[in-house]
Symmetry: C2
Subunit: 679 residues, 2 copies
Amino acid sequence: MAAVDPAGGNVVSRSDAESDVAAVPEAMGRERPVVTGVRPSVDGGRYPAKASVGEPVVVTADIFSDGHDELACVLFFRPGDEERWTSTPMAALGNDVWGAQFEVDRLGQHHFLIRAAVDPFATWRRDLCARAEAGQALDVELLVGAAMVAEAAARAKGPDAETLQARADGLRVAAAEACAGDPGRGLELAASPELTAAMERWPNLCTSVSSPVYSVVADPRRARFSAWYEMFPRSASPDPSRPGTLADVEARLPYVAGLGFDTLYLPPIHPIGTTNRKGRDGSSVCEAGDPGSPWAIGSAAGGHMAIHPDLGSFDDFDRLVRTAGEMGIDVALDLAFNCSPDHPWVVEHPEWFRHLPDGTIRYAENPPKRYEDVFPLDFSTTHWRSLWASLRDVVLFWIGHGVRVFRVDNPHTKPLRFWEWLIPSVKAEHPDVCFLSEAFTRPRVMEHLAKVGFTQSYTYFTWRNEKWELESYLRELVDTGVADYFRPNFWPNTPDILHETLQRGGRGVFVARLVLAATLSSSFGIYGPAFELTERVPRFEGSEEYLHSEKYEVRHWDLDRPGTLAPVLSAVNAARHAHPSLQQNRTLRFHHVEHDRLIAYSKTAPGDVIVVVASLDATQRHEGMLHLDLDQLGVDPERPYELHDLLDGARYRWRGGSNFVALDPERPAHLFHLMAPGV
Amino acid sequence: MAAVDPAGGNVVSRSDAESDVAAVPEAMGRERPVVTGVRPSVDGGRYPAKASVGEPVVVTADIFSDGHDELACVLFFRPGDEERWTSTPMAALGNDVWGAQFEVDRLGQHHFLIRAAVDPFATWRRDLCARAEAGQALDVELLVGAAMVAEAAARAKGPDAETLQARADGLRVAAAEACAGDPGRGLELAASPELTAAMERWPNLCTSVSSPVYSVVADPRRARFSAWYEMFPRSASPDPSRPGTLADVEARLPYVAGLGFDTLYLPPIHPIGTTNRKGRDGSSVCEAGDPGSPWAIGSAAGGHMAIHPDLGSFDDFDRLVRTAGEMGIDVALDLAFNCSPDHPWVVEHPEWFRHLPDGTIRYAENPPKRYEDVFPLDFSTTHWRSLWASLRDVVLFWIGHGVRVFRVDNPHTKPLRFWEWLIPSVKAEHPDVCFLSEAFTRPRVMEHLAKVGFTQSYTYFTWRNEKWELESYLRELVDTGVADYFRPNFWPNTPDILHETLQRGGRGVFVARLVLAATLSSSFGIYGPAFELTERVPRFEGSEEYLHSEKYEVRHWDLDRPGTLAPVLSAVNAARHAHPSLQQNRTLRFHHVEHDRLIAYSKTAPGDVIVVVASLDATQRHEGMLHLDLDQLGVDPERPYELHDLLDGARYRWRGGSNFVALDPERPAHLFHLMAPGV
């Protein structure tokens, strides 16, 4: 063990500072309640929590005081660009949890805080009733109340001052009547809603305490509710004799819109390097005509602010974005912050790369693995400021071309502090921009990227296939503080991940995984057309890579192939759009099914109940008893209710929570809209 | 909704402040790791966590960085009264959790912080091995290492500077050899422990980040490990014709010591008021000779700094404390901060009480219930400073008479801010003093009292009798952040609580509840001699009050009554003293028993394994298969191990985790010392 001084400064303990009672501030001596456990919050307020426009921010906190007095808790909130706070009373939800909510009607930062105070008037009123019920004398108590109301009258301004003084006088008269045996008028006065309202307008705040100010960032609705479709532009050609272009992507838009997607994500569209270019299936041998990986960005034709000449022009791109926008589709670009050896920056900014003693630049590697077609940017350069600024310029450049959504490639290989600066600094000017974190790494790192600003995050969904895995993972995402800042985006496949369940399963498995992704999470995505055409051959047994991966070659897809899942995708997305339950995750609840291979859950919104039952092994038939928690769903167990399957239109009439379900490869999931009296 | 301004000040958002990259501090641009989730900590460091002298403080944190680089994490710590920090390296425990520990060798505050940095040298060494195994060329990599070592040489002082320069030269030579085909010397140099140690002494800290400084308060060992015996002095007389005295309590000490207790807690020993004195069984009618409740403190004979004349003198008290101390027993007093109507303060300090409009003082009540023999202190008085100071004087007065342990009556009815000031201010001068919180109220309030300083806390144990109740409650106390500040003290009975299970159960139930209390929690207590004499008649059916409660009358106890649990108490306390496993709660783990009425758990310490199996219904026989998690206990499943029952001396020889257990009213619990090869 070594002795050093890492911090230097002196630490003053609380007790040292306050041993002398004269040193305790007056406010602290009077203060009574405690406000703690405030949510939504991230690391005690260190980072803003996430909200979305049109969605209420549900604020809760543990609030309590000594003794048995009633509390008055108030939520204050305001948009970041306004000075005035608005307030709303909080309600006791049980076990010292208090809650209230506010709507955010505009993008950007909003602030809130909680003020709690002991409420002597409410306490007095409550106790007066208890005394009256027990037949105790009330005269003195009515005088106590009169004094309290007179004090409020002295605090009050405007008409309340007179009203309160009159009520105080009335309580004094009522005390005399109570002394004479008739407490009726006193009780009536105490119960008056007008008096209560006036007292609440002029509270005695000498015991009050306020929480710190917490922040939420309000993103567009699409941050919370989105359906992503990923496709390679160069494979979008309807003509197998030539690669696709941005114009082909534009022609594909009606198809994508017809499937119900709102975000069209394109892998990098920039020029691709030729030095050490990877061949088909990632081979280190590149043959003539191999197009290279779109993630090896940069050639003589330009870098991150250029478009691959084979794909088209900026005019083509701008038209694609515009046409997509008219169909309600955002075009999402890939931010892959690394360079091919041919990227212009390699010459223009050698200080952004790591040079080896032999004069070469270090290529990307995870020893002993080597990625010779990519030079990573060296974020440890002393020239980090110019690097950061240029990377932001890339983002702003594409924002200038109408892009509002970015999928960020491997953000966990760039410093966390960089994102903590970049994202808020972009959103300060463009609060509608969304960033999806493509970090498939350890949980704490994925969480931290979301804390520092990523709007949505890829998840482990792809590898969660067992019931216990899905249930425990979803509880972690939905029922813990993680939900305050981490918005999951569920993908059954990506160009990098063809999971074994899809490789081994048939059409039914694809449908089940789609239904799970699209209903467990309010944001989901697929890599198409590989998904809807149920492409499922791996590069080799045990690999999660696709054979003939589009990452390294141009593919041509027959969208009309029989068995395409296009109709299922349309049905699932239509259900998501029609049902507010599916546009959020907060209300997700699992229900018990007596079978390990069947999973059941519900999502609810006011007037809307969705129940999903899905097979976790759609290669064969499984059946079992489903036990819906009807109480949770607000369904009367004594009366029949209807379930309408939004996938195939079938209707079922059930009564009570326990019912038989059976799923098979032909029908691997139910996506039920539950209709019951009163729901 | 009303618009008001609760806070006034402006909130500067992070993004506003940092949009300009030039405004980002250099240190922030270079910083790589993140340190978060530091434990032990309370509300993010707002309050100190708890430690005890001689027990290691186990520090953990989530620490991670971008990318795949190795990290170097160091724990720094120091006692509050020293300037110099000591350091120890932290180890990666998996899933980005890092841990290290430090011992506290003195009472009072200690501080710690964590520093994390990317470790380029360790990363280089790891990658070098991977490259070597893959047969890649190492020459350039050895030059990279040489440059790193040369940089460290430039930072180093003393002999390390020369050593490191020599190693850098050596690596350069080795690079040339590697180029010529022999990487042997380079690999050998890289693996040298001396080089690693020297590099660790002179780290490159340009990427480093330090956590905030956290505090722990080190209490005496007894704060963590204690056995309390509560008794009423006035019932301590061996002569049924007269009430007991402090001298009788002194004479009872060998009995208490023989049972193995280390803390003797006496209900208030002060003069008792006569005005509105309660009669037997809490009756509002007091008859001649009724002694009143010890909690109705104060009469003409004095208040909180006086001794009831019937109990004896200060000399008697001082002798009692001294004799107890010689036997290793702390005398614990009751701090009941309220007054009888006859308390001297009522006249001397009318400003500390709440006066009603009719001129009377408000007595204690919970409407419509009334406690006319007690005047609560009015903490909302504007004279709170003199009240707080006087109450601290009471504590200091008894500390002056040798008292080091206080049981605090109903702390949740006094302001939380008062305790937050009182306890640290007393402990600043007297860090060995312990306060036990007698707050039987809602969970958040009980937790907060512990946060603001209470050393130990009463719990819900008395009302947790089912297996799921006990398991979930213990997990909450032991496996969550609550363990950082809340030290449970388990009581099977108190003068206020005779639980239904004891009322309905026989001797076996008493034994089982005793074993549970004394082994689930490292601190426990009983109210005796009612407990060991299995007193169990309630005041009426459905009441938790004792009939003929000592709170209102003098009792005489026949300690030699047949069937006394004294031998069991001695055995349980002897086991607690002999086995370090039972002196902490951190290692508590539950094991599966195939029976709802049987519970099993273990506690471990280095070289010590305790396994408890207890009946939760000791009114009849229950049997089932016990499945010990031998892996958890470090026991070889292939070899036999021995269990020695510390309650009755029986020995069992088991092999494998699954064994049959049977408990009945005669033997309602096993308290096993497990002995196995290698444990």
